[in-house]
């Protein structure tokens, strides 16, 4: 089954004809994703050949959906055009918009996420690596060949930490890995993914990766305590980050005591989540929990 993305998913790529769009469309196809079209208003009617697959370019998401039955769009358009792109996709009624674009003004993200919500479109991102259901489909830029299909669900703000854990647990495998993105406002939260994994019959255990800043992990901890019966193993990055300094992600900033790695770890542990000290140790905890329940 997996969450949000399966082998049945038909995927459009907004910004497919740009440099990043081309590169990652090729990688998505290689990972088995059913990429049914690209979207670029200025190149509508053309097509692009990726090795053995010819992918048509549509003028809009609405056109692409009409022609192909697409239900997912992956957005690679530049920051200045992202708001328009996602709004158009939501108006067309797409089910899932995965926004990879980094550097989108927060006011734009707030606007398109709110708009998408009114249209029933789920937004993942922005500024995220996307999501992958290994062996089924890959929507975004997560490397597909570092792990295999399995029964662990993973949700994380950070791309490279996601890859690290996928790789550590490559022999066990994943149902779906979701990179929700590190921006201050994202369309899909840890909690949304926890809820979906809890309901997914093909997920046995959930890995939750967080980092300093905001209170998303604390709120996720409360959700785990109240609603999640599957085992959850956590990891938090940023114990040594100095207060008041931004470290890369716009969201990864600590001010005062709230949002510290320690506070997040304690909140998760209080909710019964095992929290690893390093990514490797986190992977070991996952294996220990899986073995114990066997």
């Amino acid at each position: 089954m997996a969450i949000h993305l399966t082998k049945e998913s038909k995927v459009l790529v907004q910004g497919m004809t740009g440099g990043e769009g081309m590169k990652h469309t090729r990688r998505m196809l290689a990972a088995g994703t059913d990429v049914v079209g690209g979207v670029n208003p200025r190149k509508a009617g053309r097509s692009v050949d990726f090795d053995d697959r010819r992918v048509p370019v549509f003028g809009s998401v609405a056109e692409g959906m009409d022609a192909t039955g697409a239900d997912v769009t992956v957005v690679f358009v530049p920051p200045a055009f992202a708001k328009y792109a996602v709004t158009e996709a939501a108006d067309a009624g797409i089910g899932l918009a995965v926004v990879i674009t980094e550097g989108i003004p927060v006011h734009d993200s707030v606007a398109f996420i709110a708009h998408a919500r009114t249209r029933g479109t789920r937004v993942i991102g922005p500024n995220c690596p996307g999501l992958i259901s290994p062996g089924q489909s890959n929507a975004g830029i997560i490397p597909a060949d570092i792990t295999k299909p399995g029964r662990i669900g993973l949700v994380s703000k950070s791309g490279t930490l996601t890859y690290q854990l996928m790789y550590e647990l490559r022999d066990t495998g994943f149902s779906t890995c979701v990179g929700i993105g590190g921006d201050p406002v994202v369309g899909t939260t840890h909690i949304d993914c926890l809820a979906a994994f809890q309901d997914d019959p093909d997920t046995d255990l959930i890995v939750l990766i967080g980092e300093i800043g905001g209170d998303a992990e604390e709120r996720a901890a409360a959700y785990v305590r109240d609603h999640v019966t599957k085992p959850v193993v956590g990891y938090i990055a940023g114990f040594t980050a100095p207060e008041g300094r931004t470290m890369g992600h716009a969201g990864a900033i600590v001010s005062g005591s709230s949002g510290t790695a320690q506070a997040k770890k304690e909140a998760l542990e209080a909710a019964g989540v095992r929290v690893g000290d390093t990514p490797t140790e986190t992977a070991r905890q996952v294996l220990a929990v899986l073995n114990a329940s066997r």
């Binding site: 920051p79 006011h107 590190g182 990891y235």
Partner: protein, 376 residues
């Protein structure tokens, strides 16, 4: 990026919000002239991008132009929480009847902006919120609607603010939207003796992602006090100086923060945070390594890369490129996994520098780098 108070004041004025007459200077002599223009009696306020300046002595009331010059001389050059005061703002004092607090701030959890308002302004709003939460109104702003007069009236009513503040609340929202701000705060918003609603102090935080359409205030890179941070910023590298001895380079903020933690767990202290980002080129890696190696407190360097988009052979090429120009005197531990890792490892094997060693795991690499930095 945080704006200075005088920049916030300028924005408020442009959007039709009443502010005290004021001017900015970096010279005590000019401060005297300004005070004369403003009528003699002035408030002299340090312009720093940090709070608590009043408690630190960065604000003074001067009775006449001569006193303004003395006060400016005292405040200019002061250190307030690590920020050196480079300019002061001189403002006409106002007769305050009442002080309020208003702000629009991003509510990450709700994914929208939140209006926060209180009839008890002028002091630390966090303390009011903590001790008397009922005195602070929090009203979410519908992103599709924004703050209309009707919304503003609801905010004012919820906080117990007088009806004259409604117009200010609408205009402040315009500041937030037009300037792509993540925070607009006025504290205090004062009702003066002549009945006007005046913004006496303001804080505006702009969205760094919006600089492509908001060129006016620059990119804020001038705020780097540390020379290494300034050098890194000039090369477009995401670098934060810390006070340890293990230089750290990685890709992706999460993995780099995690690497810092793992090194700390091995008993060493990270010397920096450096994220080469996604899909980094050999040049970015070379520039990053040069910055880290130029830090005299660095005793060993750890490069931890998990190639997703980033190609590990490009990272290895970057290391080689940097070492061709900078003489390496400190040990370098490299861990490469993911995209093109085998090719990257082969590049470093072929380079065969005696001070460069490779590790096969993140924890192993961190342990090794920590040991190299802490053993004399």
């Amino acid at each position: 990026m945080d704006l200075y108070e005088h920049q916030a004041r300028e924005l408020f004025e442009e959007h039709g919000i009443v502010v005290p007459r004021a001017e900015v200077t970096d010279s005590p002599r000019q401060a005297r002239e300004i005070a004369r223009r403003l009528g003699g009696r002035v408030v002299v306020k340090a312009q720093v991008r940090t709070g608590g300046r009043g408690k630190a002595g960065g604000v003074g009331l001067a009775a006449d132009p001569a006193a303004a010059e003395l006060t400016a001389r005292r405040i200019l050059g002061m250190d307030i929480k690590g920020h050196t005061v480079g300019t002061v703002m001189l403002a006409q004092p106002v007769d305050i009847e009442e002080e309020f607090y208003v702000s629009y701030v991003l509510d990450r959890a709700a994914g929208c902006f939140l209006a926060i308002a209180s009839a008890e302004g002028g002091m630390d709003i966090e303390e009011v919120a903590a001790t008397r939460p009922e005195a602070v109104a929090r009203v979410p702003v519908d992103p599709a609607e924004g703050v209309t007069s009707a919304t503003a009236a609801r905010i004012a009513e919820a906080a117990g603010l007088p009806p004259q503040t409604v117009d200010v609340l609408v205009r402040l929202w315009e500041v937030l939207v037009r300037e792509d701000a993540l925070l607009v705060e006025v504290n205090p918003l004062a009702r003066t003796r002549d009945g006007r609603i005046t913004a006496l102090d303001g804080k505006v935080t702009l969205d760094d992602n919006a600089t492509f359409r908001q060129a006016r205030w620059g990119t804020g890179h001038s705020t780097h006090h540390d020379p290494l941070e300034a050098a890194a910023a000039a090369k477009g590298i995401d670098y934060v100086k810390l006070d340890g001895e293990v230089g750290i380079i990685g890709n992706g903020a999460g993995l780099v923060m995690s690497t810092l933690d793992v090194v700390a767990g091995c008993g060493a202290r990270p010397a920096n945070f450096l994220d080469i980002g996604g899909g980094a080129s050999a040049q970015v890696m070379a520039d990053g390594l040069s910055v880290v190696l130029s830090d005299p407190s660095v005793k060993s360097v750890l490069v931890n890369v998990f190639g997703g988009i980033t190609a590990c052979d490009a990272v290895a090429d970057g290391i080689v490129r940097a070492l061709d120009t900078v003489r390496l005197t400190k040990p370098l531990v490299v861990r490469l996994d993911g995209n093109n890792a085998a090719r990257g490892r082969a590049v470093l094997d072929a380079y065969a520098h005696p001070l460069v060693e490779q590790a096969t795991t993140m924890d192993g690499a961190a342990e090794r780098a920590a040991r190299l930095a802490t053993t004399p």
